[in-house]
């Protein structure tokens, strides 16, 4: 567990991947372009001495991920967010079944999320039921710009999507993580437009909508929607690395997020393996708003706020009792392997009253 100024900071990394972009798995040039684009983001923001080679980046094993996340990486838990891209990758880029293997090995460390695509009709709804049953998923990642045959994307506020959201509500899949981030493909950026979150969030107040990458480069549209919809959250993946390379800019973005959403609706995410949590968590924890920014926005980015962003907010969405979870983590295989038990407190000291 990360320690900051003598205090424990429970880190629930809200956005991690275990992908396979090895050449053998690529079935369309889009798959190669996609991983290279990811790699540009990796090298563009990762401190030089921490950068991976493209070959390492294409496919990494479980052991590496567990070490990078928990052994060296300060994270206590991670939420696996599947990204299928079946048009690009033979076995999918990062599927729930692949993620499920990791979660099966380390059930105390990983939360595995489902995924849906309303263009898959009846079969997709059945698949969602399978995900709920087999993996007990509480959240789902959606990638509205994913290709599917001739279609280059879909909208969260479409009739078909609403049918899926209804199914999610029925199955207890209450956290919908929508990738609304940098435009990679397709040709026009409409498929990553955040406007569709508005109507979906209004229509499904029982669900939470986590807009990943805080909508960048549509931070303005995102914040304006989130200011009006209490069940809309912001995932920090992509914005977080600015804490390292552009700390002043990061302070400004945090100022906007805290101004429009408040401190209870912002979730940290490393986007592993795009970035490693170790340096990223350190950078975000060290980040400060300048006095001018604090005055301009009238908000504070202090330790209490950072603790919420780093783990407490996500823990609430996923019904995790942090104190109880620390007891579980103390005795798990990861703590044993990396000697982390002490960080979670002494086993005997818990029953003190």
């Amino acid at each position: 567990m990360y320690q900051y100024e003598g205090e424990d900071v429970f880190v629930l990394d809200g956005h991690v991947h275990w992908w396979d972009a090895s050449k053998d798995n690529i079935s369309h040039e889009g798959g190669e372009q996609f991983i290279r684009c990811f790699y540009d983001y990796h090298t563009g923001f990762t401190p030089e001495e921490r950068q991976w080679s493209l070959e390492e980046y294409r496919k990494y094993d479980k052991e590496r991920m567990v070490r990078d996340m928990f052994g060296d990486g300060h994270a206590d838990m991670g939420i696996l967010q599947p990204t299928y891209l079946n048009e690009f990758y033979t076995e999918g880029f990062n599927t729930i079944d692949r993620c499920g293997e990791l979660a099966e090995d380390h059930p105390s460390r990983f939360i595995v999320n489902g995924r849906f695509d309303p263009r898959e009709g009846e079969a997709g709804l059945k698949e969602l039921e399978r995900q709920a049953e087999e993996f007990d998923v509480r959240g789902a990642k959606v990638y509205t710009a994913e290709w599917n045959g001739d279609s280059k994307g879909w909208r969260l506020d479409s009739e078909e999507s609403f049918e899926y959201l209804e199914k999610c509500a029925e199955l207890g899949i209450k956290n919908i993580h929508a990738h609304k981030g940098p435009t990679i493909r397709p040709l026009n950026r409409d498929a990553f437009d955040v406007a569709d979150v508005d109507d979906a969030a209004t229509s499904f107040p029982e669900l939470n909508f986590v807009v990943e990458h805080v909508g960048l480069p549509r931070l303005d549209d995102f914040c304006w929607i989130a200011a009006q919809e209490p069940n809309v959250y912001g995932g920090l993946a992509v914005a977080a690395p600015l804490a390292e390379s552009r700390p002043r800019k990061f302070g400004e973005i945090m100022g906007e997020l805290l101004f429009w959403l408040g401190e209870d609706r912002i979730l940290f995410g490393s986007d592993y393996a795009i970035w490693e949590p170790e340096w990223l968590i350190e950078a975000v924890m060290e980040a400060e708003m300048t006095p001018e920014q604090r005055e301009e926005y009238g908000v504070e980015l202090d330790l209490e706020v950072k603790k919420k962003i780093m783990g407490e907010n996500a823990a609430k969405l996923y019904d995790i009792d942090i104190e109880r979870q620390k007891e579980i983590l103390r005795d798990d295989g990861v703590s044993e392997e990396f000697g982390l038990a002490e960080q979670y407190g002494e086993g005997t000291a818990v029953a003190d009253d």
Partner: protein, 249 residues
């Protein structure tokens, strides 16, 4: 031939200054997208590299088309060509823009033309510029309700002195630096805002008159639009820096 009519890399660059990256609302010259300028008699070909090969094809198209138009407007230029390098759709864009095709002709799987994207981004740029213009008026001592009420005819810009005069009533005017207001007006006119004397100078992001009670919210939304653009600018710079191997600051 006068100095301004002679073609030189400098005069070409000067022409290109008005072309902006639509997502960042900054000049492509300032952003350092120009790689090379080749002049052969009246023919000019300019090579560009964008921060990332994945830069939205629609944005890349707009910049390249605008660059070609800006060069072609130079009185001594007979042929203007662009060459986009290292972009995933360089071939379609170079062929399309140089061959006078429409976006939808160059990209057969495009979903419509780029005009709607341009309108949307212009609208955002207008909102961000309004924030900066409004800031300068607030600094100049104007009250929010005065700013909300201003009409186009209340603003006079003197290019000679780079000063802007805001007329508040028959007896009272305020004078401020013109730059942010000039920049605002340019984008306002391009988006159909404040294009007649009696129209409001500043409006909400949706284009409505600003009620005095909502001034703060509108102003905060302008700040947010500016933060989004500069934030994205940093993302692009980092991607660009990693691409050409130079360190980011």
């Amino acid at each position: 031939m006068s100095e301004t009519h002679r073609i030189s890399p400098e005069t070409i660059e000067e022409r290109l200054e008005v072309v902006t990256d639509p997502e960042l609302d900054r000049s492509i010259v300032e952003l350092d997208y120009i790689e090379d300028i080749e002049i052969d008699g009246g023919s000019v070909e300019v090579a560009f590299t964008l921060p990332t090969a994945w830069c939205s094809p629609a944005f890349a198209w707009m910049m390249m088309a605008d660059a070609r138009d800006a060069m072609a407007a130079h009185p001594a230029v007979s042929t203007a060509r662009i060459r986009l390098r290292d972009h995933m759709h360089a071939a379609e864009i170079n062929e399309g823009v140089n061959g006078d095709l429409a976006f939808g002709e160059a990209f057969e799987d495009a979903d419509g033309e780029v005009e709607s994207v341009r309108r949307e981004l212009d609208g955002k740029a207008r909102v961000a510029r309004q924030y900066r213009a409004t800031e300068s008026l607030l600094d100049g001592g104007l009250q929010p309700e005065q700013i909300a009420r201003l009409r186009r005819e209340d603003l006079a810009i003197d290019p000679e002195s780079s000063r802007a005069t805001i007329r508040l009533n028959h007896d009272l005017s305020v004078c401020v630096e013109a730059e942010s207001l000039e920049r605002y007006l340019e984008k306002a006119l391009a988006t159909g805002i404040a294009d007649e004397a009696e129209k409001r100078l500043f409006v909400t992001p949706e284009g409505e008159a600003i009620q005095p009670s909502e001034f703060e919210t509108v102003h905060s939304r302008g700040r947010l639009a500016a933060t989004n653009m500069t934030g994205q600018g940093h993302v692009c710079e980092n991607l660009g820096a990693s691409r050409i191997g130079s360190p980011s600051d």
